[in-house]
Symmetry: C2
Subunit: 473 residues, 2 copies
């Protein structure tokens, strides 16, 4: 079929397809504690997000301090209940902005690091070694030595071959590091991460650590991976961890001091885009289904659910309850940051909906390619969202599309859009592809504080040899 005919068929089918799809309640600003100002601006604590661009440029990351404080409190809530404490180590890779990390550490939360760089950063930020957990499949020999030398809280080996590296560092430095093993539960990620519980590989590694003689077998670590939303899912993987800890006790005579349940709790307002939804969205501009926030276990419940299950298990066996670690990433910061973008240009499109070209695309919001992120018209909140737009980023790549079907008011150049839940994986996946990276500010009450300044042109080539040798040829 020639392109024109195909497009006409799609355009004709679009309204029918969109009509047939189940209606889903839109996510409202109140989910994020946002309000709408009289002139239609989206605001947090009385500050217009769009107006922040005047001082800090666009695009702009805005960290909402009050919301971050809220998530921190939720993670720590159980610690006021006089029961087993939840010990929290924030996943640096999710949002490695030093200002964000400092804020988190100020509440006594530790650092979960996965590289030599992140270990360095934690130490730079004043995190003491006893508040650092070192994970990941790619620890350099130098970083393992450094971690062992400093006596960090816990080093989780990702796979069996890593044990020898830690052992050798321990022997050389005459240290007895606390070591855990990353186990892969029967559902969830495996691949390069951890050792399957089911095949016995996780147990074998725990045994090897124990028998090394120089390593202190301390912990079992387990991530489900992906986005965990329900108690049932959580309980299933906790059960597997407990069973393995029991086996360690029975067969090795070791009572693991720490059970580390990793991360994986979902951000309630973010969801993976399913393949069908993606296709319907591209072909017929069907809106993506927004997740139902209430369907995700709240942070406090999630923590309680794990702690209760572990406590109950050990109480039933009359054994001392181990320390319980969590390593949240997206659940901690995901919904505490907003990426404010600006409409640079509009491009009419017939018969399909038109394009809004934004100053933020996959260069700074790569996650929006595969995840649903609510996008608000931050300067036109009072207007009916009766128009459909495709939202493209600026980088001249056909994949640079943030939405194929955004329902928005009629836009004008200069309008601001708020891309929600930009607090996990937006910053680490950001590139300087043809455009400098945005500033990051923190909004605390009505006070705005710069955490990271916007990249300048000079910064992008700061590491380059700019000499004249070739130009003068």
């Amino acid at each position: 079929m020639p392109r024109g005919a195909k497009q006409r068929v799609k355009a004709a089918l679009g309204p029918i397809v969109r009509q047939l799809l189940p209606r889903r309640a839109a996510l409202e600003p109140a989910h994020w504690g946002l309000t709408v100002m009289p002139r239609g601006h989206l605001a947090f604590e009385g500050v217009s997000l769009a107006a922040l661009r005047e001082d800090w440029g666009s695009p702009l990351h805005v960290v909402l301090a009050e919301r971050l404080r809220g998530n921190i409190s939720e993670f720590l809530a159980i610690n006021d209940a006089g029961r087993t404490r939840a010990e929290i180590y924030y996943s640096y890779k999710s949002n490695p902005i030093p200002g964000v990390l400092r804020f988190i550490h100020a509440s006594g939360i530790g650092a979960e690091v996965i590289s030599e760089y992140e270990l360095w950063l934690a130490l730079q930020l004043g995190v003491t070694p006893d508040r650092i957990v070192f994970n990941g499949p790619a620890k350099s020999v130098a970083s393992v030595r450094d971690a062992v030398g400093r006596g960090i809280m816990l080093l989780n080996v990702n796979h069996r071959e890593e044990i020898a590296v830690v052992e050798s560092a321990a022997r050389e430095l005459c240290k007895r590091p606390r070591v855990g093993v990353r186990a892969a539960p029967s559902a969830g990620w495996s691949g390069q991460f951890g050792l399957p519980i089911g095949t016995g590989e996780a147990f074998a590694a725990l045994k090897e650590v124990h028998e090394s003689g120089v390593l202190e077998l301390t912990a079992l670590q387990c991530h489900v991976g992906g986005m965990v939303r329900c108690a049932h899912h959580v309980q299933g993987y906790v059960r597997e961890v407990l069973a393995l800890a029991d086996r360690v006790k029975t067969e090795l005579g070791v009572e693991l001091a720490i059970l580390d349940f990793g991360g994986s709790l979902a951000t309630p307002t973010v969801a993976q885009i399913g393949e069908l939804d993606r296709r319907l969205s591209i072909t017929f501009q069907a809106p993506l289904p927004a997740p139902v926030p209430e369907a995700t276990l709240p942070i406090r419940e999630y923590v309680r659910c794990v702690v209760e299950q572990v406590e109950a298990h050990y109480a039933a066996n009359a054994r001392p309850c181990p320390r319980i670690f969590f390593e949240p990433g997206r659940a901690m910061t995901g919904n505490t940051q907003i990426l404010v973008a600006t409409v640079l240009s509009l491009k009419a499109g017939e018969p399909k909906p038109g394009w809004a070209i934004l100053d933020a695309g996959i260069n700074v919001a790569e996650c929006a390619r595969t995840e649903f992120h609510q996008i608000f018209p931050a300067t036109r909140m009072h207007e009916t969202r009766a128009h459909r737009y495709r939202l493209a980023g600026p980088i001249c790549s056909p994949g640079d599309v943030l939405s194929w079907s955004a329902c928005l008011p009629e836009l004008a150049v200069g309008d601001a859009l708020a891309i929600m839940d930009a607090g996990a994986y937006f910053v680490p996946f950001a590139t300087s592809f043809s455009f400098p990276q945005p500033a990051v500010v923190m909004l605390e009450g009505a006070k705005v504080r710069l955490l990271r300044r916007a990249e300048r042109f000079e910064d992008i080539v700061a590491l380059d040899e700019m000499g004249e040798q070739y130009a003068s040829n």
Copy 2:
């Protein structure tokens, strides 16, 4: 089916599936002018790629000057033939390393830029405005003013709404800028890029530019997009461009001075990974099919094909042949750069093949997710590639896999791998996700020159407020 059973079934089917697939000739180092040293190291002009890591660290981008010079010559070859010249503007976004750009400019090649930053960079590198073409859907108002004020060679409007922006800059600055229109051919990209020829939108925009009174209607620009490999494909889109240029002549009385054929020529040794191949590779570790390099039109042929067609068309109509522009990106630099990576760790896997954890993953080689890139065992070229590995990057993300089925010799920690054709889109899509970005060196004869030094930990947080305010709370 439980995971264990599923894996056993896959493992049993794997050899059968791999046997059934058509055999494809492997790509050999000679395709890139590489040789193998007596001790089995992959080398260029007598220099071991793996050995470069000792001085410059790993991962490491190695630009092969001689190959880049070769591609430049191929693009310019027609200019020695006494016929219409090919004017080449290198696509900055494909590989924005200043040292690479300088090298290219030294041959008289111009700059194709798509952002305010790239325009700035071209000027910084000493490119004169008459050697700059400004494209893209996201030109800021300031950058349009700047470009118009400087009198750049050509500004191609991406969509109709941009015309007013250029017009306004022209009036304000009392300039008459040379303007082209980006047209979308009937096959290839459209979306946010350009105006369809078929619907008449491209012509309408050309007319609007012409009738503005202050803009010099100069050019028609057209990209096919994707990866063009055959003369037939090229001829089809050139034909569309010529037909539109004819219409401009007939209906507007304007002989376009420039036809700009954009980029899109494929790198012969790179191909998009098809969905089926991807699945067979993930599920059964079937090797990805390597492209047949000879199936891609060589650069020289591609240029000749376009120039001859244009010349013949104008000659047949007894009209003066317009200037012919090309804006190559991947065809120019794609196969002139190698990413050298190191095996950080090995992770056995039963029953599936094991993992090699590399210090380079999607953080620096994002393209390898969707494109076939040959990977050589740069320190074990003499050994039989009888082992199968999955190659993971370091960043603790399940998507960080560079290959699900690499056939390699048995690897050891510290081995080097050469990820080929890293010269287009590897650098611009690179992130500092948990790991600093690599150095870029240029190998010219036996001389190695640093183009961009490796990122240091301090560089990653150079724009951050590192103050103590929160740590002391």
